[in-house]
């Protein structure tokens, strides 16, 4: 075996695995999306995009991602910086902070429902403190912004840790000497964060952001638990096409649209956080 072919032979099993369990189903979905019984057609796409719930679910999904991801990024950076400075108890704090990672998204949604629903913790507390006379409906159609806030909060609570662990690993890899040099040459703690940490963290930031943004477009269970039908999102629409309307072609078309959005954002993130040519980070 010549060394030239060896790498390809070594990745063959994985390639086969992906081909069978990813590419093949993907091709099926694509076929489903682009056909309606007959030949090639864009009818499915026309139908899902033309449906009145599409703009609102797209807007909701985007808005949620636009609020949740930046907040999570800021929080994760802050938490990662703090963890990295800790001498003692670092691992313990990290474990506690990553507990939400081990909870499924539906369970997380239910936990927050237990807080916000009419007989939930928040209402009991408010009545107990005499802030309100009787429990109020927090997650109702009267309070769309509260529904949004509850979903955003639950998402932030649930999924910040995934960014945190990636950023903690990334920050830990930055050699201490760069901070020392920056300190000697007059950089304040904030400047050190902006001029050293952020640029040297670019590869980790890319990974964390791509992962998080793609997951944010796929938000579903938390929304279902807290908002039900009050807050339609793209994934919810896919679900109802597939299982309520029994329209597999529509579901497939919408899934491809979400995929396209994810790919576009991935490319944007890769481009925005690219390491300049020649710089070794």
């Amino acid at each position: 075996m010549t060394p030239r072919y060896l790498p390809y032979v070594l990745i063959l099993p994985v390639t086969l695995f992906l081909g069978v369990f990813f590419l093949y189903p993907f091709a099926l979905v694509a076929k489903q999306a682009f056909t309606t019984g007959g030949g090639f057609t864009l009818d499915n796409f026309r139908e899902v995009v033309g449906y009145w719930k599409f703009p609102i679910s797209l807007k909701n999904t985007m808005l949620l991602a636009a609020i949740v991801v930046p907040v999570q990024l800021a929080l994760a950076l802050l938490m990662a910086t703090m963890v990295n400075r800790m001498q003692k108890g670092r691992d313990l704090v990290l474990y506690v902070w990553t507990i939400p990672l081990g909870i499924s998204d539906l369970a997380a949604g239910i936990i927050w429902l237990a807080i916000f629903e009419q007989s939930g913790f928040l209402n009991s507390m408010m009545t107990g403190l005499g802030l309100v006379d009787q429990p109020i409906t927090l997650l109702g159609y009267q309070n769309p912004w509260l529904v949004f806030a509850a979903i955003a909060l639950a998402e932030i609570w649930r999924a910040t840790a995934i960014m945190l662990v990636i950023l903690v690993a990334g920050i830990g890899l930055i050699p201490k000497e760069y901070y020392e040099a920056a300190e000697v040459f007059g950089a304040s703690p904030w400047k050190r964060f902006v001029k050293i940490t952020l640029p040297l963290l670019r590869p980790s930031l890319q990974t964390a952001l791509i992962l998080r943004v793609v997951l944010a477009f796929e938000v579903f269970a938390v929304v279902v638990a807290l908002g039900g039908t009050l807050f339609p999102v793209l994934m919810g629409q896919i679900y109802s096409y597939q299982f309520d309307l029994m329209n597999g072609g529509g579901a497939a078309a919408l899934a491809l649209i979400v995929l396209a959005i994810s790919v576009v954002f991935t490319l944007i993130i890769l481009r925005a956080l690219r390491v300049p040519k020649g710089a070794t980070i």
């Binding site: 000697v184 007059g186 070794t280």
Partner: protein, 346 residues
């Protein structure tokens, strides 16, 4: 004005004491070299002066102000790190200009200073490159340029030329010395290269196992080493030592010869530099073992009474291994050391 005073500084890492009671005053505009073997605490001392490490005890004063509670950026220093610490995500230009940008100097001033210091270090053609595209020696010169560009009162340099080839190092040595003298900068310069120390220093501070053994002018350190360690560390080849037994009245028996020395009843060590030996009719009987022609001189490694002994002799001399040489030490260059304290005895 930037006089540096290090007063009673000690540093422990856990149970290990890296520095013991260091006292050193560096005059304004003085160029002091910290010289010592690997692991003797040079970097640690420099980092304490810079403020990157806190001393366990003791004080650091710069320019008449106590600074040990101040962060590095408020101490008026610039530093060349032993491991360079050239930022990998910035170009050479931005690396050199980093401190100037932090000081918010106008763009044209940054450009002027970066280009000037890059020129001094012969790296002006590399300004657009990233650290990953440089050789070790080029990266080291970027680190030096970054410190020089600050035009600081005090510059701390940790082996700034260690990675350059001999020729470039010699050139940079002169260049660096000139720039620092011109800009009236006070400098602490760490090296374990004694030639560098001798040629650059106003004063050499020899460190050994976390202590300063001697701080004096290069010639003083060379001629009158304060301790056996200094005598053995400085000079290439190092000083020769032989046991001496007192004969009374300041007379000493050294390898069968009788020599004049200090008036003390204790046994001492006789010491002489290899180049202070002459072939003579009377003297130490040395059996030549290895003969190394060094061009200008002949380095002869011999055996005197079972002890290793080196002599630097005229290159015209013809000696073969096994020959017996009679070597006379130049009497005003003989030094004596107390084997118990290892200190010099006058």
């Amino acid at each position: 004005m930037a006089e540096i005073q290090i007063k009673g500084v000690a540093k422990s890492f856990g149970s290990y004491t890296a520095l013991h009671d260091i006292n050193l005053t560096i005059q304004d505009q003085e160029f002091v070299v910290l010289l010592g073997a690997s692991g003797c605490g040079k970097t640690t001392l420099l980092r304490i002066v810079a403020g990157l490490e806190t001393a366990t005890t003791g004080e650091v004063w710069i320019g008449g102000k106590r600074v040990d509670h101040l962060p590095p950026k408020d101490r008026g220093i610039a530093m060349v790190f032993q491991n360079y610490a050239v930022f990998p995500h910035l170009t050479v230009f931005e690396n050199i200009g980093f401190g100037l940008r932090m000081k918010k100097l106008p763009n044209d001033e940054v450009k002027r200073r970066v280009e000037r210091t890059a020129g001094l270090m012969h790296i002006e053609q590399l300004l657009g490159r990233y650290s990953g595209e440089l050789s070790g020696g080029q990266r080291q010169r970027v680190a030096v340029a970054r410190a020089l560009a600050m035009e600081p009162d005090v510059i701390l340099m940790d082996e700034p030329l260690s990675n350059l080839d001999a020729l470039l190092r010699m050139e940079m040595r002169a260049e660096l010395k000139g720039v620092l003298a011109e800009s009236n900068t006070t400098a602490i310069y760490v090296t374990h290269d004694q030639v560098e120390a001798m040629s650059m220093a106003d004063r050499i501070s020899v460190m050994h196992q976390g202590r300063i053994v001697q701080a004096a002018s290069p010639i003083e350190v060379y001629r009158n080493p304060a301790a056996e360690f200094v005598a053995g560390f400085i000079g290439n080849p190092p000083m020769n030592f032989l046991p001496a037994t007192p004969q009374g009245g300041g007379r000493w028996a050294v390898a069968g010869q009788v020599l004049d020395g200090p008036q003390t009843p204790k046994a001492l060590k006789f010491a002489i530099r290899p180049e202070d030996l002459r072939l003579a009719d009377h003297g130490l009987q040395a059996v030549a073992k290895v003969i190394e022609p060094l061009g200008a001189h002949l380095l002869v490694t011999c055996d005197v009474n079972g002890a290793l002994f080196r002599a630097v002799l005229d290159s015209d001399l013809s000696v073969k291994p096994g020959d017996t040489l009679t070597l006379a030490p130049q009497s005003d260059r003989i030094r004596w050391f107390d084997p118990e304290t290892t200190r010099a005895v006058a």
